[in-house]
Amino acid sequence: MSRPEGIQLMEGNHACAWGAIDAGARFYAGYPITPSSEIAEVCARELPAYGGTYIQMEDEIGSIAAIIGASLSGKKSFTATSGPGFSLMQENLGVGIYQEVPCVVVNIQRVGPATGLATQPAQADVMQARWGTHGDHPIIAISPASVQEMYDFTIRAFNLSERFRIPVILLGDQVVGQTYENIALPDPGSLEIVERKKPTVPPEEYLPYQPDENLVPPMAAYGDKHILHASSTCHCETGYSNFKYGTNRQLLNRLKNKIYNYLDEIIDVEYFGPEKAEVTLVSFGSASRVCKYVVGLAEKEGIKVNLLRLISIWPFPDREVQEALAKTGACVVAEMNQGQVINEVNRVNTTNTPVHLASGIDGELIRPEIIMASIREAVK
């Protein structure tokens, strides 16, 4: 099959795979899991024609390991999974972060814990995406809410990953993964694609973990004359393990600062509805679509509601949420879990704005009436 073009009906998972291919992904390793498997299927079918490779690994531990390896060999790489698989990936996600390996991990969230409701949506991996791997670390996670965004944000995930040399998590869910919608696929030539920075010094002067002025080290590929020594052990600029006092502090701070000093390039939110409102909804991903619908329902009841939709989840949009809380009478956080983002909202709630939770944990897209009930509670 050749690349689909123009406006058409497409499943979210297919849109994700095409986004990856258009972003330049040439390696996919994965393990089948509902509701993400269509991403693997498209990659298996399409990547060879692009000179790329698909491999089905023995488990998700191996899958993320393989994409990290392939990325270090110079290929843009990604994997896709859901709850149990995302849990298995946590170990090596830390390896990818520590060794600064660009790659994308797509998590099409389903209901957990354990097997949960394997075919049904949830948004309960928000904190796992942030803190699932052990140790101090930054992470970037972005959350699509439509089929179009499954395509667009997959490309954005690759771009952020290449720009910052960090694994980026595309935090989708079963609704955006398996819904079909009309999508407009752009001409691939018109896309802005970011490539990793290559070393400019001669091979003998190359230190693989010596950062540039933006704190990101230029990246050689295995096979280049610039020798790349990538270690999961505490390492200095040479890439070799180093246990001197201060090395770990320096490394961890740089890993953090290379992200947190450049939040303007990462943080993204969407404002929806009237500028001033009695209640501000905070939501993300597929739940945020329901919020947009609910803004209209609330208006019919005479309640002025607007929405702050988080597009980037991690790093958390502290400032944007803080400002929204300061401007509103009350806040309702709508999420398909028992309350994860709400804790982050409360963390930045310096104005003591009342914050309520609309929690969708029924294995389906959160129902509008659940959010409406929280809104009514908030204006009581």
């Binding site: 390696f27 790329g52 490779t53 023995e58 191996g62 060999s73 790489s77 170990e91 020798i227």
Partner: protein, 279 residues
């Protein structure tokens, strides 16, 4: 190659002294690998070593080639991606016995089944040395370790037998005592396409030896010299005797097609439809 290469091209001398204990054979194994690479005249930048975690997992600290030092048990999974990301590379996974066969057992059997073009060099010292000498999946039945104080209750894996059954193209076992043979097997494994395993029986006088082999590090070395036995003598032993020895030599050398050759044959890259080849 205009200039004959020397093992020093691959060996990071400024990292000396080696961190391994006196009497450990990892240094010998490292020399055998770097010697083999020099003999094969493979430039360091065309080699990637993927190491696991454990004593032998520190080997990349002493090498000048490209290197990946990842997580415990996953060296082969990372190596799989490294190889598929750039098939021109010589990818060598360096793993210990616990690394390759306990936590990494799943990756090991599937790498062998796929016959992916990677050389796996397993330093088998029958124990988890780095963590203090616990029993591993290759500790012989009834031998003592810190977690089997009266003897281990589990039978050991036959590393080479497992690799053979799972489909490895080349399987050889030697010891760090038999340096010349070891180097020859490593060179053969690196040259051959497919999943190729060299098991190097190694000494651990600090942990395994102290609890099981009377005497000093020299006795430990003699122990591994003596338990290795070529097929001609091994096959004359009765079944009970065989349990006391390890068959050494080139045990498997066959021509199964490797993963990537099969994959590319049935998935030809239609480069005209691709927007660039990704590299």
């Amino acid at each position: 190659m205009a200039v004959k290469l020397n093992y020093r091209e691959y060996f990071k001398e400024e990292a000396l002294p080696l961190m391994w204990c006196a009497g450990c054979g990892n240094g010998i194994l490292l020399r055998a690998i770097t010697d083999a690479l020099a003999d094969l005249e493979i430039p360091p930048h065309q080699v990637v070593v993927s190491t696991g975690i454990g004593c032998w997992g520190k080997a990349d600290d002493y090498m000048t080639t490209h290197a990946f030092h990842g997580s415990h048990g996953r060296a082969l999974a990372f190596a799989t991606g490294i190889k598929l990301g750039n098939p021109d590379l010589h990818v060598i996974a360096l793993m210990g016995d616990g690394d390759a066969l306990a936590i990494g057992g799943n990756h090991f059997i599937h790498a062998a089944r796929r016959n992916i073009d990677i050389t796996a060099i397993i330093s088998n010292n029958f124990t988890y040395g780095m963590t203090g000498g616990q029993y591993s999946p290759t500790t012989p039945l009834s031998y003592k370790t810190t977690t089997s104080p009266v003897g281990v209750a589990e039978p050991a894996f036959d590393v080479c037998g497992l690799a053979e059954e799972c489909g490895a193209n080349y399987v050889a076992r030697s010891t760090v005592y038999h340096v010349t043979q070891l180097k020859r097997f490593i060179a053969a494994a690196i040259q051959k396409k497919g999943f190729n395993v060299v098991e190097a029986i190694n000494t651990c006088p600090t942990h395994f030896g102290r609890r099981n082999i009377p005497g000093d590090t020299v006795e430990m070395m003699k122990y591994i010299k003596d338990i290795g036995m070529p097929r001609s003598r091994f096959e004359k032993l009765d079944e009970e005797e065989k349990n006391k020895y390890l068959l050494t030599g080139e045990l498997v050398n066959r021509e199964r097609p490797d993963f990537l050759s099969v994959y590319r044959e049935i998935n030809p890259a239609a480069s005209e439809s691709g927007r660039g080849e990704g590299k």
